[in-house]
């Protein structure tokens, strides 16, 4: 998934006709001052760190300014700081709104119903998790015929908006749903949606775009703020890769088997570090690349747990043997292999020829790798 920063989310809001305050994103303190001086950002203004973490207000990542100098100082204080592990590289400056009421509006996916759901609450401006279910109105939206006018009217009644504000909401919801649909969003959330004077303004923007739709949206391909460097390399090679805190590397295939392997390692006292899911490849070259990527993460021991389906055991064995030949002796680590399923016998034979034993029992192989990691530590 691609989480957009508030600034990028608001750009999308503007494009789809969802009203947002006047503002701009800058990456230096002087630019912040200049943005205010030029009139691009009216005063008083808000200066917000463009990080994905929540709770920015409490963490000092949101500040206020009434002069260009204050805007500069606020930006200087925030830029380069770290919030929940994220370094601030950009700040959003925007006009501070005089809020009459704070509301909540979002579109998300209801997996059970297989429908998008429109959620609204008159209790906006707080973490939606803290709002009781009774205060959140949910309406499923059928892709055909799409968000209907009667649903928008109901949302307006729930939010207590009528007249010009009701008409504003009607347009806003239509536009927000179009954004959700056309941009392949997993989530579009406005919290708070503020009543400012006689109009509605989206004071925050949370937009998550679905990875799988990237063939329709190449513009989001570059945005992956929460990946580590190795995760990024893995992505380019189309290998699912997750870095945790432990010291055992796991190469498996399939999300379920990968997670099950984690469960078993933990059971035997192991601390899994890097997880690498080959998925359904049957290309030995890809196996080799995955293995070399694993070596870069410097695990204390590696557990190769493959059940051959689309991925054939002999393919994995060939890729593994090829990779073993290129890892320098200094970077070697203990390896426990377990390969089962399609072409199991051929795979085991290839590994045996390269001096690697396959341990067919999952309990036994997991215990071996945990012991090996402890020995290497």
């Amino acid at each position: 998934m691609v989480k957009l920063t508030e600034g990028r989310g608001k750009e999308l809001f503007r494009k789809y006709g969802v009203p947002v305050p006047s503002g701009t994103v800058v990456s230096t303190a002087p630019d912040a001052e200049q943005a205010v001086r030029s009139g691009k950002v009216p005063l008083p203004c808000v200066v917000k760190a463009q990080v994905l973490a929540g709770g920015r207000g409490k963490g000092g990542a949101v500040r206020f300014a009434t002069t260009p100098e204050e805007a500069r100082a606020a930006a200087a204080a925030i830029l380069g700081a770290t919030f929940q592990g994220e370094t601030v590289r950009e700040v959003l400056l925007e006009e501070k709104a005089t809020i009459v009421r704070e509301l909540y509006v979002s579109f998300a996916l209801d997996r059970g119903a297989r429908l998008p759901v429109l959620m609204v609450s008159a209790r906006g401006g707080v973490e939606v998790e803290s709002v009781g279910d009774v205060d959140i109105d949910r309406q499923p939206v059928e892709p055909f015929p799409g968000l209907a006018a009667f649903q928008r009217r109901r949302a307006a009644r729930v939010l207590g908006l009528s007249g010009a504000l009701g008409a504003d909401l009607d347009r806003l919801l239509g536009n927000l749903y179009r954004l959700f649909d056309r941009e392949d969003a997993e989530l579009v959330e406005v919290n708070p949606l503020a009543v400012v004077g006689e109009h509605l303004l989206a004071l925050d923007a949370k937009v998550i775009i679905e990875d799988d739709a990237s063939f329709r949206h190449p513009e989001y391909a570059a945005i992956h703020d929460d990946r580590t460097e190795l995760e990024e390399i893995a992505r380019e090679k189309e290998i699912a890769f997750v870095q945790l805190d432990g010291n055992i590397g796991v190469i498996a295939n399939g999300a379920g088997l990968t997670m099950a392997t984690l469960d078993v390692l933990k059971e035997f006292g192991g601390a899994p570090g890097v997880f690498l899911d080959l998925g359904g490849t049957d290309d030995p070259q890809k196996v080799t690349e995955a293995f070399l990527l694993m070596a870069k993460a410097k695990p204390h021991a590696v557990f190769l747990n493959i059940f051959g389906g689309v991925t054939r055991c002999d393919t994995v064995a060939k890729g593994l043997v090829a990779a073993l030949g290129t890892v320098p002796a200094s970077e070697r680590f203990p390896l426990v292999a377990r390969i089962r399923g399609n072409n199991e016998a051929e795979g085991i034979a290839i590994l045996r020829a390269a001096g690697v034993a396959s341990v067919p029992d999952l309990r036994e192989s997991a215990q071996l790798v945990v012991a090996a990691a402890k020995g290497a530590a």
């Binding site: 998934m1 996916l109 997996r111 059970g112 297989r114 429908l115 998008p116 998790e129 059928e142 892709p143 055909f144 649909d181 392949d184 997993e186 679905e210 990875d211 799988d212 739709a213 063939f215 329709r216 699912a240 997750v242 945790l244 498996a252 295939n253 399939g254 999300a255 379920g256 088997l257 990968t258 997670m259 099950a260 984690l262 469960d263 078993v264 933990k266 059971e267 997880f275 899911d277 998925g279 359904g280 493959i306 059940f307 051959g308 389906g309 689309v310 991925t311 089962r340 399923g341 399609n342 199991e344 029992d361 999952l362 309990r363």
Partner: protein
């Protein structure tokens, strides 16, 4: 028909001329499945291993009477391929393709449903009934005819568990791999009634994952509407919150969909919940032995 497929199942493979399509069409035939046609636009008139290839599913159905489709169509074209299969009158579509945007799946699911067509998947291994037919990609080697039903959101983990059942000297009635994407054509609660009705299934193995609430919903149905013994396993008990483990089904969010909530719901529903994959077949064997003694 037992569950979804039987000896009358005639499969058209969409994308048969691609590498995956060719390999798995062969695998299905080796399983004993009637693979009657393939479809690849622009390649009509040829054949793959003797299976005739058509330009359009409608032509394939008209010529061969195909009633099930197995799709290996790349994600950007999968929606069109599915709509084409539904339009052609096929009644079961197994969608092997992964990385289909869920917005596309919403359209596919609701359209197929309005036409009375069942989708399995996407991003799924499909369905297999040993001795009858297989539509999908579950490796043939793990099967042996028997009376244990399997329904799972996983891929290889399913193979692992199905294989374990075989290694304990038991066999399977039908195995369905539903896929773990956010929007699936068939979920646990859609599949459970099929096994409940199936006279060839004595016991059901349910393999879930963290994320979503499909297992909780399944537990509720098991409690109230499912009469056969259930052995369950939930993968990801020790996965860290918020980290993706490979696909979108495996995200923990807002405290719902945790392994703990799923395990608790299933146990409350009377299911035996295994803590590790290898325990599944151990429990199944134990229950089978008890049932045998009665």
């Amino acid at each position: 028909m037992t569950v979804l497929v039987d000896a009358d199942t005639k499969v058209v493979v969409q994308g048969i001329t691609g590498h995956q399509g060719t390999v798995h069409a062969r695998g299905m035939r080796e399983f004993g499945t009637k693979v009657v046609a393939g479809v690849t636009p622009g390649k009509g008139g040829g054949n793959v291993d003797g299976v005739p290839v058509f330009d359009a599913v409608r032509d394939a159905v008209a010529a061969t009477g195909a009633n099930a489709a197995c799709l290996f169509v790349p994600a950007p074209y999968a929606k069109d391929g599915l709509l084409e299969a539904v339009d052609a009158g096929v009644k079961l579509c197994v969608l092997v393709t992964e990385h289909i945007p869920f917005h596309d799946m919403l359209v596919m699911y609701h359209y197929a449903r309005s036409k009375g067509v069942r989708i399995i998947g996407p991003n799924c291994p499909g369905v297999a009934s040993p001795g009858k037919a297989k539509v999908g990609i579950i490796p043939n080697v793990v099967f042996r005819p028997g009376r244990v039903g399997v329904v799972s959101r996983s891929g290889t983990l399913t193979y692992e568990i199905v294989n374990g059942i075989k290694e304990h000297g038991l066999g399977q009635s039908t195995c369905i791999g539903l896929g773990g994407d956010p929007v699936v054509g068939t979920s646990f609660v859609d599949a459970l009634p099929l096994f409940e009705r199936d006279p060839e299934t004595d016991l059901l193995v349910l393999v879930g994952e963290i994320g979503g609430t499909a297992e909780e919903e399944a537990a509720e149905m098991i409690r109230t509407q499912f009469s056969k013994p259930v052995v369950a396993y939930i993968a990801g008990r020790s996965a860290p919150p918020g980290k993706r483990m490979g696909h979108a089904g495996a995200i923990i969010s807002r405290g719902r969909g945790t392994a703990a909530s799923k395990v608790e719901a299933l146990e409350r529903a009377g299911a035996r919940v295994a803590r590790f994959p290898y325990e599944v077949s151990e429990i199944v064997a134990e229950l089978a032995a008890k049932a045998g003694r009665r």
